[in-house]
């Protein structure tokens, strides 16, 4: 089983990197870009677990390390 964890800053938390990216895109002529948010993707290989157990474990991983829930939120997708 694979798990794809997407971590991003919570809404309302200033994303300086996203701001810089949006401003660079505008500079390249993409004037329609209003804003950008930059996050990260963490791909996990966790063979041998059923989906329910895998999801519970990955959630625990997010809470304990992968995301800082003071500033970030996360989304988990499972794939075979």
């Amino acid at each position: 089983m694979k798990a794809i964890v997407t971590v991003g800053l919570r809404p309302g938390v200033l994303d300086t990197q996203g701001k810089a990216v949006a401003s660079a895109l505008k500079g390249l002529g993409f004037g329609d870009v209003e804003s950008a948010r930059v996050g990260k993707i963490i791909e996990l290989d966790i063979p041998g677990l059923d989906p329910a157990t895998a999801e519970a474990q990955v959630r625990d991983m997010c809470e304990k390390l992968l995301a800082n829930t003071v500033i970030e939120s996360y989304r988990i997708e499972l794939a075979p």
């Binding site: 938390v13 200033l14 300086t16 390390l65 992968l66």
Partner: protein, 220 residues
Amino acid sequence: MKTAVIVFPGSNCDRDAADALARVTGARPHMVWHADTHLPDGVDLVVLPGGFSYGDYLRAGAMSARAPIMQAVRAHADRGGLVLGVCNGFQILTEAGLLPGALMRNAGMRFVCRPVRLAIANANTPFTRAYRDVRETTIPIAHADGRYYADDATLDQLEGDGQVVLRYLDNPNGSARDIAGIVNARGNVMGMMPHPERESDPTLGRLGGWPIFQSIAEAA
């Protein structure tokens, strides 16, 4: 007084911190490797030094906050022992949940390395008592991730309870409410972005950070 400095892979202010502690206490601190699981018996103060531990992987301080030694540091704090986190050490303390909030990329998106003027917002802590007769000091910062963030309720509570200890007079990084250093509710754990160990050697002529170490020595 017995002190310890935790050395993480990528710490780079550990020896400066150790020198300052040795000067103020008269004894060399124990240098404790991050993979150790115990602090030496009878340690009064633990310093988490500045640097770029684990290359700031994932988030600044994220990996170090889960290092084996941190369970012992947490137990030391729970017993009322003193803990000082400087720069990366402050980031580690917030990542470990020993201090509230988080330290994020500077609002100006650049690494900033220069002396900054600080207001002493609370001189009634074990880390700042020696500033009791002054209102401000100057200590250098050197960080890219120093913008203090916490939700409004947490910020209100920190301010209401006197947990904001140091404030920037010319906010260099966009920190919420100009916060440069805080203590926990019990007052025995402090995190600060400025580097007091870089302004604590008389041969360098500037001693803006020295009172932090004098305070600690007084506290023991």
